[in-house]
Subunit: 254 residues, 2 copies
């Protein structure tokens, strides 16, 4: 199933951006009258009929809409420090999109070697990953902030976890136990997600850089309501730790 | 912590292969008298003192041994069809090694586009991945077989799961439920693992190619004692499915 992406769907008419138009018309040789599938990146799949096979701005008429297409039953924000090798970060983002997540927040820690991150490239990559994995919603990529800023601005009513490799003053629980306890306690970490998915648990997970969080960052996080968790005994690279956290949430729901 | 690999440790003397010797002596500039760490790939970490800083075959005297270094409390064999793009298979193998697994069996399915697989390249990669993730045991890579051969020769006394994307005559359970039920039922899927790890659950998980298993392969697997499982609602690439299965086993034990 080939899926296109358009941020411009209004009044029953969908206009594809130039790169998607070229792919639709030149590469896949779609002609006027063909049915095509288009996601809006916000959660809906549109079945459309191509009315103008222009390789600059192909136009199509919406026939059917399917909201919450490929949606997952949680709201997950991963705040992950960029890796030295950006391929590894992109790999994490692609795999996490396949499984299902909502927001990626690049955060810069005290021990981060990489202090600069370009969100635009990742945004483009996640459009592809969402189309490939048949999901109507493309995860949002935030602009980078410091870990300290991120902690200070994190919402109160979410289940917030911080994965550290060391024991601070508050003992760490396994991520499984933290997710389990939050579920059992009827944790008030709920948030209304638009478009009828209903009340979902909002989960925020913070993953540090190769050199881990500083003691100060971990203490600030705990003071800010983050629960310190571990990901088991294996020494995981940053991107593997981040994906393991997404897997823990995903596997809790299947 | 820098770790070297040697398959030649006997009578308290460790000899490094040429590539490891060059890395030890030329790149990291270790000198006679230095303490170095060496894994044997079978599970043990050796702390050694360098006695001959030869870049062809460095020699070191064993000071201490730590068996089961970085071991995990299960025995997991992943039988995974090679992906069209081999990078993706190698990525899976690297990440699975970080988490912990014991055997990778490349298997060729009826719908596999890639019918040939070179195990040697993967073996070298897994030595690096094991050193990087601080594990004494390097996962074994089997020579490729067909899915049908693999099913026919799979041991009777293991917990065997097959991940298919379609419902066969036997309904699929989630991988979590299958692992849970096997644990509760005191499944006889135990096997004595060498060197004192003791009785561990032996788990075999079969992952199909991009085009999934054929109906015949799935039926053969079920007849051979494989439990059909699913990995949740997301459409996962082969390598993501394989890693998700490893994560499900890993996360059950943390």
């Amino acid at each position: 199933m080939e899926v296109f992406y358009s941020p411009q769907i209004e009044n029953g008419i969908c206009v594809l951006p130039e790169d998607e138009s070229v792919h639709c018309v030149r590469v896949l040789r779609h002609r006027e009258g063909d049915e095509i599938y288009v996601i809006d990146g916000l959660g809906t799949l549109y079945t459309c009929r191509l009315t103008d096979a222009s390789p600059k701005a192909a136009r199509a008429q919406v026939l059917r809409e399917e909201p919450d297409w490929g949606a997952h039953p949680y709201f997950l924000e991963m705040a992950v420090c960029p890796t030295k090798n950006l391929d590894r970060y992109e790999w994490f983002a692609e795999k996490a999109t396949e499984l299902g997540l909502d927001v990626i927040s690049p955060v810069i820690g005290d021990h981060s070697e990489r202090k600069v991150f370009k969100s635009d490239r990742l945004r483009r990559l996640l459009v592809s990953a969402s189309k490939q994995s048949l999901k109507g919603a493309v995860p949002t990529v935030q602009e980078p902030r410091t870990v300290r800023e991120f902690i200070a601005s994190a919402p109160k009513d979410a289940l917030k976890l911080i994965c550290c490799c060391f024991e601070g003053e508050t003992p760490r629980t396994s991520i499984n136990d933290a997710l389990e306890m939050a579920g059992q306690a009827g944790h008030d970490a709920t948030s209304v997600i638009p478009d009828g998915i209903g009340e979902l648990q909002r989960i925020i997970i913070l993953i540090g850089p190769e050199g881990d969080f500083s003691r100060e960052e971990a203490a600030l996080a705990v003071a800010g309501g983050f629960v310190p968790v571990h990901l088991g005994p294996s020494r995981l690279r940053t991107e593997t730790a981040a994906l393991t956290a997404v897997e823990a949430v995903y596997l809790k729901c299947i």
